[in-house]
């Protein structure tokens, strides 16, 4: 009962994005570690509690500052081009309809939260994605755009000073770049967690494109780590083995 779920363009851009995000975050953290603070020299910074505390090396990529900068400034093009291909596709192919926020999303999200918290028995009705999931997928490109713009702002603070000024100057642009990265990382980690904890059947669909709706979290009434196995398997008695 498999149905087509992901167009090949979505699947390819998804996995390219995985590689690009991992390398951008890793090399970005290595660059950050060269000066793991936000304050201008001779000043204090209000809004980062870990000034001058480096990120653990094992979370970084690129080996050293210069190497990480080369990776960052090369991979940024992969990220941007890949993102544009994806956005152009979901726009032209109409799939943006499954992703843009709508009236009622907040209510539906609250129902999902209640369901995950065992305050509601049955899985809320949903379309392709549940309301929480949809919000997360919508926020990814939003924060991705913020990352790209703040990134350009700290790459060219003199030549494109108007853009840097838009984010409150170099120090703040660098801070928003970092904050947007943290948001993307949190969304990605939660996304991967939910794939394995709620809908592992969706993982093959990001390779093959096909998805079995009868195994969807809604069909299984699945919460994280609950009802992971298909319901029909429990409904039919095990066949006899002779």
């Amino acid at each position: 009962m498999e149905t087509k779920r992901h167009h090949w363009i979505v699947r390819v851009t998804h996995w390219v994005n995985v590689v690009a995000i991992i390398i951008m975050v890793g090399s970005g953290l290595r660059i950050f570690n060269a000066y793991p603070a936000f304050a201008r020299k001779g000043e204090m910074f209000c809004c980062y509690p870990f000034e001058h505390k480096p990120i653990p090396d094992w979370l970084t990529f690129g080996g050293w500052l210069g190497g990480a900068r080369h990776w960052h400034f090369a991979m940024m093009w992969v990220l941007v081009v890949n993102g544009l291909v994806y956005l152009a596709f979901v726009y032209l192919h109409g799939e943006w309809r499954d992703l843009v926020p709508r009236k009622g999303d907040i209510r539906d999200s609250w129902q999902m939260v209640k369901f995950y918290a065992f305050k509601r028995k049955d899985h809320p009705r949903q379309g392709k994605h549940n309301a929480l999931q949809k919000t997360a997928y919508f926020l990814m490109p939003v924060f991705g755009l913020l990352l790209v713009l703040t990134g350009i702002a700290i790459w060219k603070p003199v030549q494109l000073s108007w853009l840097t000024a838009l984010f409150g100057g170099y120090v703040w642009a660098r801070y928003w770049h970092f904050v947007a990265m943290v948001v993307i990382v949190v969304l990605s980690v939660v996304h991967v967690f939910m794939v394995f904890a709620v809908d592992p059947y969706s993982l093959p669909s990001m390779f093959t494109g096909n998805y079995d709706e009868t195994l969807s979290p809604e069909a299984r009434n699945a919460r994280p780590f609950y009802h992971l196995l298909p319901r029909r398997a429990r409904a039919t008695p095990p066949p006899e083995v002779m």
């Binding site: 201008r40 001779g42 000043e43």
Partner: protein
Amino acid sequence: MSIDRRKFVTIGGIDRREFLSWGGGLVSAAFLAACDSRGPRAADKLLNYAERKNRGLETALFRHTSMDKVQRGAYEAGNKLPSYFVSPTVPVWDDSVRGKWKLDISGMVDRPMQLTLEELQLMPSVSNRVNHYCVEGWTAVETWTGCPMIEIANLVGASRDAKFVDFQSFDDDYHESWDIESALHRQTVIAYGLDGKMLEPAHGAPARVYSPVKLGYKNTKYLTKIVFMPVMNGGYWSDQGYEWYGGV
């Protein structure tokens, strides 16, 4: 019949999913293993290609009219400005050993010259309160006093065919070559003053290049020579793998 076909198919389906999950896991593991490494050697060519393309884009983005402006309310770094050199100790020009300090300007110029510090100070001077952009990510506000590079280029009659400028120092073999456009930007100065005082050895005395349009490492301190060139000449940090262009 010892195996139920239906069951076999179901198990087969799950196996494939498991296979794919394991495949995904292996890819992730490969990434984790690659962490804190410099990444695959094979990527070097691609990274170099990207750097060349980025340099082209950065050159195209460059405008002489784009000026660095210090944010309102920003404080001078003062003694928080890091001092930095590559020699084992602070390089100090000793007249009794090396003779009087002179700035040698040569290469593709009509009138090669050697300027003493006094002569340099007699040239048109500006004081720019600007940002210092370090490759490490920090910034520092300082006021740099000196002679705009464009005045020096006019004085010596720099050739239109000179596309690069090399700034050389007496701090070991430290030097950095620049594209001519950045070198002639209005905010690029040969600085001999910092925050209203004469430059100290800690920050590049007697004179240094200072420009907010380049990252800190491009701004050669302890300046001795300015050479106008037809080709680029790398640089101390550029040769060790930092971007040659280093513009902001």
